[in-house]
Symmetry: C2
Subunit: 159 residues, 2 copies
């Protein structure tokens, strides 16, 4: 087994359920770093985007078949999906860094429940991480692509 430590907590407005990959959500989102790691934040404010790496501690089991709840008849493996029910429930989100205040990093919305244990923060670096020719994989083929995009972008909608 591989062991990691909690380096802080994610603070979000989500008490029990987090929307799938939200964006433009209301409320405050910040990473609260424990005091002993605060020194490691120096210079992080110079980045526009960061990776937030977290432990999805509410996830108790995993499924190798992922059935995205928003598409019917799609059955892909968990490693072809962003389902939280993974063998190792590690969450990774790319978020916009808004500002750093003491041991808090304020960010754009994160799809994590309030109090989620934080594992790591990494700078999102233009030439390493931004791939303009990336695709949507199996989801490219779905008929209702505009609907899919609402889900991917976490935009609330009624249908």
């Amino acid at each position: 087994m591989i062991s990691y430590r909690e380096i802080g907590k994610i603070r979000t407005p989500y008490k029990r359920k987090a929307p799938y990959q939200p964006s433009g959500e209301k409320g405050e989102f910040f990473l609260e770093i424990f005091p002993e790691y605060k020194k490691g934040l120096r210079g992080v404010e110079s980045f526009k985007y960061i990776y937030v790496v977290f432990h999805m501690d509410q996830v108790k089991d995993y499924k190798l078949d992922a059935e995205p709840p928003w598409i019917e008849d799609v059955n892909v493996g968990v490693f072809a999906s962003r389902s939280p029910k993974r063998p190792n429930p590690i969450g990774i989100s790319v978020v916009k860094l808004l500002r750093v205040e003491e041991s808090r990093i304020y960010t754009s919305s994160i799809d994590a429940i309030n109090g989620t244990p934080l594992l790591d923060i990494k700078p999102y670096v233009k030439y390493l991480d931004s791939k303009e020719d990336a695709n949507l994989g199996w989801a490219e083929k779905t008929e209702d692509r505009s609907h899919l995009l609402l889900h991917l972008r976490g935009i609330p909608h009624d249908y």
Copy 2:
């Protein structure tokens, strides 16, 4: 403490030291998934890029101050750098998916030592993960930016 399991191994030509964020390196790079997780790969081949999440098991300590070896007089915190010496030695690389053969995913080069434990594979999804307005953070200010880019892109050079 948070515990994770190894789901496979990363195979690279690097025996003892991996270049920093290589690209265009020669040799074979693949992810070898353990048989019990193979089913989770279904559909992954439809993505151009994937995230490889791994445990840097050779890293035995961490430093909150990161001193990038390729720039003098830069002292930034570990969370503003991609240094492997992190409180939790989790590595994340975006790689090109070349092909899937049985329980192997062949990829572009990965900055990991041969045999590195694999923790997770996630699809890299265009609208979620590709940020065209991302920056280089503190590294934007370095005088020799073209030199920096050789390092970031892992291109071998003599100076």
